[in-house]
Amino acid sequence: MITVDVDLKEMGQIIADIKQKVERLMEISGGMQCVDRNCDRILASIKMLEINISDVLEFLE
């Protein structure tokens, strides 16, 4: 098995930052569907990153 050293806290922070950016993008899109619908899909993928990484961080300390 391969073992790696990762900074999970930084990963969690980056996930939060991306989410904020995408939500901001939706706010300023003016309702353009080509932006909103793609952002919606990105947010669903970000939710999977939260489930896989962010949600567990507090239990690793």
């Binding site: 073992t3 790696v4 990762v6 939710k47 999977m48 489930i51 896989n52 239990f59 690793l60």
Partner: protein, 443 residues
Amino acid sequence: MLVKGVDAYWNPILETLPREKLRALQLKKFKRIVEWGYEKSKLYRRIYDEAGFHPNDVKTWEDISKVPTIQKKDYITAQAKEPWPYGDSLCVPLEKVTEYHQTSGTTGQPVYQPDTWQDWELLNEMWAYILWAQGFRNTDRVFIPFGYNVFIAYWEGHYAAEKVGCEVVPGGILGTEERLLKIKELRATALMGTPTYILNMAETCRNKLNMDPRELGIKRILCAGEPGANVPATKKRLEEAWNAKVYDHVGGTEGGGWSYECIYQPGGVHVNEALVMLELVDIETGEPIEEPNKLGKIILTVFDRFAQPTIRFDSKDVSMWGEACECGRTFRVLKGGIHGRIDHITKVKGVLFSPVSVEEVVRSIPQLGDEYELIVSKKGDADVLTLKVELLPEAAGARETVHPELVRQLRLKTNLAYNIEYHEFGSLPRYEIKAKRFKDLRK
């Protein structure tokens, strides 16, 4: 932080999380989805209010059993009204729903299952855990011999295989022979299907195309929809027929792909306890079961599915806890996968009886074909069990040696006697999706 097993696990953190931390994560997520159901769903609010339960009542692990269970009929009662067709079970604005599926409705009206795109991502993520654990990689060309439709079957398998990086070949509209020829032509390396159909494909390959399925190059097969891949004799037949590793998975419309057998083949399936909570409860008393080897009913909660949440869903499926697996996952193992459904586990001649035990016997006898049919009927006050089997063409004259062995093993494994009928090879029904081999005519 050092993370071990980035190659072995889809998520090396969650899949190896120490049990006490996993439980803490589960409790937090459980509370959140119970609150969501109460706030957003008229259905859950009604059930909880009628039971005198409030989400604030859940403070510790022991409080989980205070949450009322939900039955398939509860969804049905709440549905087929506005917002059409999900009615009071819907927790999000209708315009957020992007996916429609439904249950088979074999017991009556089907349950309509809405999902948002985020829910759908979750269901595919659940299946990504399954596929990675079973060795599916971006070097695989996965052939799916199934026509996707209103049922959820294999939709997630398709999307998750893409997510894992596999090349996916949808073999839906083709017939069995065309599918086999396409597998050969494209040199597919992996398959997904019900154990029944994967066996039928092998039979068709040998008998109609004069090809040996073992030479097609399939390396791994994911089975779902029926218990077969965790019935040892059926798994053995499947693996020998295809010269491939065969893995089980258990899931469904309400719960998604919540479990998987890993490459260590521990004789059961891991429950994905990072994404769901599975409670095993005594069939009669409803008391929680924690010890291994005791049959119980599965109550399932999915933590992050929001359009129509699954919270303490009474699945009616029966299983038992097994021992830990050597793969390193801390997710518990359900020994033997699913053993049957509550409505199939019945008393025959006063003996508690699971039809899956007959499958293990039939498929352990090499002269018998893969298909069988089991019928329970009444003669006067007595229960009568009839087992229909087929002798393989090359064993057509072996009935006199097969029969005593079949009777002996059936008696040993089920403690019951059977009327055994031998039918011409190929005459019993062949199934593509879920086989209906057990018929209880007493009901």
